[in-house]
């Protein structure tokens, strides 16, 4: 894939080629990086969900995962660092017909953009947020993130991380997300299924996808490229409906994967229309029945 910027005529196309800006390949992701697998799960989910792709928008922030918006052949916005969610909020409110997928990294969504995540979940803004969690800032060369495990090494924690990382599903649940799941990029099928479900679900959905960064994280933490994948296989426990408070990432204890939250409450737009734009609500009734 990396050597061939244009696929030869003999080579059969990839089933997701129609959702890729093939003229932008090769991509920037490093060998051993997991973002491509999460991206492909996301594209398969978008395709499989049956939603109108013409009305589907991908919004990203800044960072390695943020480059996804540049490769997807949909309306796609590569915004400023941490601001994918509020940008997507404006898009959705301007045109409620749009399906919104926010695809970005842990640093972007939970450090610089943490405040926006909290409030979009609280409002139950109708969008699906897919967070590629590679435990560090990869694009800038491997700095500590809000998700880096305690004592893990990074270029800015050379003697080990003194901080406690976020439990992202717990945060999403506590803030009001109506759908919360976590998988690793190794669990591609489960990940794809959950993204599909999240896209089809009304309200604020959050999916955390654990993904290796061998070049910047693994290298400094004595993990060879396959080691992280082995951990994903051997040190994970699938436990749907697990209590979100038990979902800390701890490779010693084992990492819990699954779908943890799936509930219904009115979205921002539904509440806004009810109180401020009742005429719009009435107009929408025939459409809902048809």
């Amino acid at each position: 894939m990396q050597e061939n910027s244009t696929p030869s005529k003999k080579q059969p196309g990839h089933p997701l080629d129609d959702l890729i800006r093939t003229d932008r390949i090769p991509h920037i992701w490093c060998p051993g990086c997991g973002i491509g697998t999460v991206f492909s799960a996301c594209l398969a989910a978008l395709k499989g969900s049956g939603i109108n792709l013409r009305k589907t928008v991908m919004v990203s922030g800044i960072g390695c995962s943020g480059r996804a918006a540049g490769y997807v052949k949909l309306d796609s916005f590569h915004t400023t660092h941490g601001r994918a969610i509020p940008f997507a909020t404006g898009l959705k409110l301007a045109n409620p017909e749009l399906n919104i997928a926010v695809f970005s990294g842990d640093g972007d969504l939970f450090a610089i953009g943490g405040n926006h995540f909290i409030h979009a979940a609280r409002r139950n803004m109708d969008m699906t947020v897919i967070c590629v969690n590679n435990l560090n800032y990869g694009m800038t060369g491997g700095q500590v993130a809000a998700t880096t495990p305690y004592l893990a090494k990074s270029t800015t924690t050379p003697m080990g991380n003194p901080e406690t990382p976020f439990n992202l599903p717990l945060m999403a649940y506590a803030c009001g997300a109506t759908y919360v799941a976590r998988w690793t990029m190794l669990h591609t099928r489960d990940l794809t299924e959950c993204i599909t479900e999240a896209i089809c679900k009304k309200g604020f959905s959050f999916i955390e996808a654990l993904s290796p960064c061998p070049v910047n994280y693994g290298r400094r933490n004595k993990q060879k490229p396959l080691d992280m994948l082995k951990l994903y296989q051997e040190k994970t426990i699938i436990k749907n409906d697990a209590d979100p408070s038990t979902l800390d990432i701890d490779f010693e204890k084992g990492i819990i994967l699954g779908k943890f939250v799936d509930l219904d409450r009115p979205t921002f737009t539904e509440q806004y229309d009810k109180i401020y734009r009742p005429s719009r609500l009435q107009e929408n009734v025939p459409e809902l029945n048809s």
Partner: protein, 381 residues
């Protein structure tokens, strides 16, 4: 339920008149965050947007507000926000994204004393240079300064029209005094209000290039969800919108976003004057200070001093030609502004050392009294 254009005669504050101007211009999205002395614009929009099938959201901060305004614009809706100094600082990041992605929208800064939290309830005009260069990188911006609630109504419409025509965030640099001052505002009939909408693409969607400029240097703009498979990025990009990390692309892109303004100065720049034709001394001012300057010019004339006023309505791009021409025929300039010399330096630059230049300014908190302008005119000339 009231119409978008509230035709009639009112006693209104500048903040409320600004909101009414926005609605008359076709604004249907407001993303904001409370801040004195701009809050009343958000409050007015919160109720009025519900009358016109629009949408208001109070975001978690000004960073989010500005991001939402850009998102809404790409959703196909005319959008705006309003803030003051501290919020304006937070918005700078996404104002830059708006410039780079050529996104139409309007940002109102009801200026108060700074730096930092400063004087929240007292006016100033000290964000004028922040308006010009506050976001990083080299770019052109449009900023306008109204002198009354009536003018803010009209200038808000003009700001939307220019932002749609030239595809960029347009700034209204008003101040606490105009924002909170109540005066007569006449809102005309809807049919008399000229509104402009962004240029729309034609032809095959699969061949469309979102940043290929049209005849006036501005590219047509589709909305998300229309089948164009747009890619929009804050990275340096080519005409397709694709990021290209190359000197040539940087040159091409920055030239495009600056030239579309530089090539259309005559269409963008607005100035006004009072007793300027035969003036020997040109008083240059804008916003609330232009009104006190006008009183000072009238007083000076009574004293036999041939002063005249050049009122800057458009601040950025700066009316360089107007100042240069004046520099060839007047004996001197006096800049009047509520700061310690921001636009003053621009006047100085354009006058090119031909005549002496004086500043009447103070750091903010109150208007500039006409007497202090008259005093300088008497002493300096």
């Amino acid at each position: 339920m009231k119409p978008a254009v509230l035709t009639g005669e009112y006693f209104m504050t500048g903040d409320v008149a600004c909101a009414e101007g926005a609605l008359a211009a076709g604004c249907r999205f407001f993303g904001g965050y409370p801040i004195t002395p701009a809050t009343e614009i958000a409050e007015r929009m919160a109720i009025r947007l519900s009358h016109v099938d629009g949408c208001f959201i109070q975001m978690e901060d000004e960073i989010g507000a500005m991001a939402a305004v850009l998102g809404a614009s790409w959703g196909g809706v005319k959008s705006m926000t309003a803030t003051s100094g501290p919020g304006f600082s937070l918005m700078m990041e996404n104002i830059g994204l708006g410039i780079c992605t050529e996104t139409p929208c309007v940002v109102v800064n009801v200026q108060r004393g700074g730096p930092s939290t400063g004087l929240p309830t007292h006016g100033a005009q000290s964000d004028m240079m922040q308006a010009r260069w506050g976001s990083h990188g080299h770019y052109e911006i449009i900023a306008m300064a109204p002198s009354s609630p009536q003018e803010i109504f009209y200038l808000t419409i003009t700001a939307f029209n220019l932002s749609e025509k030239y595809r960029l965030p347009v700034l209204i640099m008003t101040d606490e005094i105009i924002g909170h001052m109540s005066e007569k505002v006449i809102i005309p009939e809807a049919k008399l209000i000229k509104t402009v909408s962004r240029p729309r693409p034609k032809g095959r969607k699969d061949r469309f290039k979102p940043f290929a400029p049209g005849p006036n240097g501005v590219a047509p703009m589709p909305a998300a969800g229309e089948g164009y498979n747009l890619h929009i990025t804050g990275l340096t990009h080519d005409e397709k919108g694709y990021p290209v990390m190359a000197v040539e692309t940087q040159t091409e892109m920055v030239s495009r976003i600056t030239e579309k303004i530089r090539r259309n100065l005559d269409d963008i720049i607005r100035t006004d004057s009072y007793l300027l034709d035969d003036a020997e001394i040109a008083v240059v001012s804008y916003g609330i200070s232009a009104r006190t300057s006008m009183a000072a010019v009238a007083e000076a004339r009574k004293l036999g001093i041939k002063a005249g006023l050049l009122r800057l309505v458009t601040i950025w791009p700066f009316p360089e030609d107007q100042i240069r021409k004046l520099a060839d025929r007047v004996k001197g300039f006096v800049t009047v502004e509520i700061n310690l010399g921001q636009i003053h330096r621009e006047v100085e630059r354009c006058a090119g050392g031909k005549v002496p230049i004086f500043l009447v300014g103070h750091p903010g908190g109150t208007i500039i009294h006409p007497d202090s302008v008259v005093k300088l005119l008497k002493e300096a000339f």
